[in-house]
Every structure is written in C-alpha cells, then in structure tokens.
C-alpha cells in the first residue's frame, strides 16, 4: 500500500474478518491482503480490538488458534436467546423446507448432493436447519474431500409428530419423478385401505 491510510486499512480488515466468518483469518493472510508487514498488521488489529471496546461495538475481535475472527459479546447472550426463539426464526423458508425434505428422504446426504437436486446453494438453509436442531452431522462421506453428511434429528420426528419411520410418507424416487405424485397418491390410498 503506497499511501498508508490507517483508517482505510482498518476498514478493509474489518470487512475481511466479517466475510471470513467462523473460520477466521490468520495474520499472514490478512497482512498479505492489505500489503503490510505481519508485525504492522498485528499492531493494527490490536488497535482495532481497543477501538471496538471503546466505541461499544456489538462484536469483538478474538484470536483463536492463531486466527482472528469476529465474535459476539457474552453480555448480549440473552438477546441471542431471544432471537433464537423469535417467531421469525421459527418459521421455515421454502428453501429450508425443501432442503429438509431432501435430507429426510435421502439421508445421509452431503451438501453437494442436496445442491445437485435443488440446483442452488443451500449453505444458508443447512445452517438454519442446524440451528433449529432439525438436522445434524452424520459423519463424513467416503468420497473425495470427505464432505459432511447430514441427517435428521430426533427432534425432527418429534416436531412432525411422527411415531416412527412408517409415519413418514413414502419417498418418491428421483428416477421417475414424472409419476411421483401419482405414486404417492397410490401409496396413501393403499395405506388407507389397509387401515380401514
């Protein structure tokens, strides 16, 4: 950086920490991106930590395992609890519902497989479902990269008032999606006949 504008660099670092999320960023990466020597970058981040406290920011910069990242303030926990149980948080979006349905019927399944079916990214939906405890990690797939597998939780059965797996309507298969609706109808019909 030719013109060393401290405030500008701090601003860039803030954005960097913001987008890097839970993974955080190590000092070397930050220093490289803002084109400063590592020591200078460290000094700036320390300054920022002070700034954040002084100006009563709602987040803090923490250092975990040699990476820097944003974190919430412990004092605000009660508000996050409120958020976690707020109505907006307890209604599922269509995206989340579709993702949940796919996981329910095709578990255990990786994110990439879900995205293949839905045709769009679903990181967001998975996070939502995880935080609502409707799905959970189910180990890792044996395929390249060993991606995380997802499955539904016990809470999932409870929430849907299921007694066991038999309560989940039979899964339509992907191969003949043409007839899916009819097949589901047919199965329900059969089911009802049997019960009658």
């Amino acid at each position: 950086m030719q013109n060393f504008d401290v405030e500008e660099i701090k601003s860039v670092i803030e954005g960097l920490l913001f987008v890097s999320g839970d993974e955080g960023l190590d000092l070397k990466t930050i220093a490289d991106i803002v084109d400063l020597p590592v020591e200078q970058a460290r000094e700036l981040i320390h300054q920022m930590q002070l700034d954040f406290r002084q100006s009563r920011r709602g987040v803090q910069i923490i250092e975990i395992a040699n990476t820097f990242q944003f974190a919430t303030l412990p004092d605000h926990a009660k508000y996050y609890e409120k958020l976690a149980s707020s109505p907006s948080h307890s209604t599922l979006s269509q995206a989340a519902l579709e993702t949940l349905a796919i996981i329910a019927y095709k578990q255990p399944i990786t994110r990439a497989e879900i995205e293949d079916i839905r045709g769009v990214k679903c990181e967001k939906a998975i996070n939502t479902l995880m935080s609502k405890k409707l799905i959970q990690d189910a180990g890792r797939s044996e395929t390249t990269g060993r991606p995380i597998l997802y499955r539904t939780t016990t809470e999932f059965i409870e929430y849907f008032g299921l007694k066991n797996i038999g309560d989940l309507p039979p899964a339509p298969s992907i191969e003949d999606s043409d007839g899916v609706e009819e097949e589901v109808d047919l199965l329900f019909q059969k089911w009802n006949e049997q019960k009658a």
Partner: protein, 255 residues
C-alpha cells in the same frame, strides 16, 4: 460492413432493427423503411455468407418489413380525397405503426435489462456471510420450529425440489398391480423368522425393491406387530428396523 463484428450477437430481429435504426440515426417514429429494410436484408445476407444459422424469427421479420415497405409505396392521402365520403372518414393507419410499437416496447425492456445488469454488478461487489449457528443460544424449552408445517408440506417440498425441470405435459397413468399381497408377505416374513429368529427390515429385500414392495412389507410388519407376532426395534430414526419373532405366538397365526 460495420456490424459484421456483432454478427450473431443480436437477441433477435427487434434487437437488430433497433441497432440499425440507432446506427442510421433516424427517428424511430418515422422509420425510413426502404433503407432499414435494405440494411436488414443485407445483414441476413452476411449471416448467410458466414453460414450462421438464421433463426426463423429473423425471416418472419424480413417478410414483415417487406410488407410494410410495399404498403408504404401505395399512394394514400391524395387518393383518399377522391374517395367516396364514408371511406374518407376512415382513419389512416401508418403501416409502420404496429412495428414501431413493438420496437418501443422491446426497447423499454432492453433498458430495464440494462438497469438490472447494473444492479447485478453492484450487488456482486458487496459480500455478506452466512448466518451464525444459533443452536448454542437455544433455550431448553423450545418452540416447535415446524409447528405450521405438515407432513404433506414436507412431501410437497420434496416433490417440488425434484420436479423443477420442465416436465412434458403428457401424463401416463400407471396401473400398479399387486405383485404380492400383504398376506403372502406375512407368510414369507414368518418363514424367514423361523430360520433366523430375527431379521433386519433391509434384509427383506433383494436388489432394488419397488416402492409397492417396500410398502407391502411395511404393512405386513405393522399387521404382525398388531397381532403381537413380532417386535420391532429401531435405535434411532432411519436406522434399520430389527424384527424379532415373539415366541409362542406363531401358532395363533391365521394366515
């Protein structure tokens, strides 16, 4: 020709016409049809020369242009004066009017598309992050997050996810014939149980069973459970169900 470089980069005949009008710097409300038609035909000719496949829409527009051109050549006003009165009152409609309206409409959406492109670019310059996992903040007594979602919604959502591809409208109704009845299935399961004592649900099938087969088997098991002929165990959801025979009840079987 200056437009050679953009040979096949037009979105359609309307796009091409707008380009020609723009290039000729003429009033869109008063298109010199003869000139524009000539340029349009020239463009098609060049496309042909370069062996670019000409979409039928371009040809339809060529016909339209030629039609307008011939209508424009017909004498009007002067003649109208000598026509009998009732015909005189008929309003003269410019042969170009319909085309001009289409061009204006298309131009409007082309501008809007540019606006959207602009927004898209701006949006691509800002970044966010995924929402935090708030499960650590979940209070023990939880609200049911799917209280307003029924099982039907879930099946629906799954279907929706699967069926996003455009499907052909033709519907083939399939008639499913029961290959095996629930009764027969119960008999088979009992035979299996008499050998092994217990069996996994998945072991009841070989290869890839049809859905009807799975359901039939499942109903057989439910029926057997109802009659206390078997017990079923499942450690967690979607884990394989283990079916165990209930000793002493075999004799009561009425199947």
């Amino acid at each position: 020709m200056a437009y050679e470089v953009r040979l096949d980069s037009f979105e359609g005949p309307l796009d091409l016409l707008l380009h020609l009008i723009d290039k000729a710097e003429v009033d869109i409300y008063d298109i010199p049809v003869t000139i524009i038609t000539e340029q349009y035909m020239q463009y098609l000719y060049v496309m042909q020369e370069f062996q670019i496949e000409i979409a039928s829409e371009f040809l339809v527009m060529a016909a339209t242009l030629l039609e307008i051109k011939s209508k424009m050549l017909l004498p009007r006003k002067e003649e109208v004066v000598f026509q009998p009165t009732f015909e005189m009152e008929e309003e003269y409609i410019d042969p170009r009017q319909e085309l001009v309206e289409r061009l204006l409409e298309y131009k409007r959406f082309k501008k809007l598309a540019e606006e959207l492109r602009d927004r898209e670019t701006k949006r691509s310059k800002i970044f966010t992050r995924p929402a935090e996992n708030l499960s650590t903040f979940m209070v023990q007594v939880e609200e049911n997050p799917v209280a307003n979602v029924t099982l039907y919604d879930l099946v629906e959502a799954f279907n929706k996810a699967l069926n996003k591809e455009d499907k052909p409208e033709t519907k083939i109704t399939r008639i499913h014939r029961d290959e095996i009845s629930v009764k027969e299935r119960i008999k088979e399961i009992k035979e299996l149980l008499s050998i092994t004592g217990n069996v996994r649900f998945s072991q009841l099938f070989s290869g890839s069973p049809s859905k009807a087969e799975v359901v039939t088997s499942f109903m057989a098991i439910l029926e057997m459970m109802r009659k206390f002929q078997i017990r079923c165990l499942q450690s967690t959801l979607f884990e394989d169900i283990i079916i165990t025979a209930n000793k002493g009840d075999e004799q009561d079987a009425e199947f």
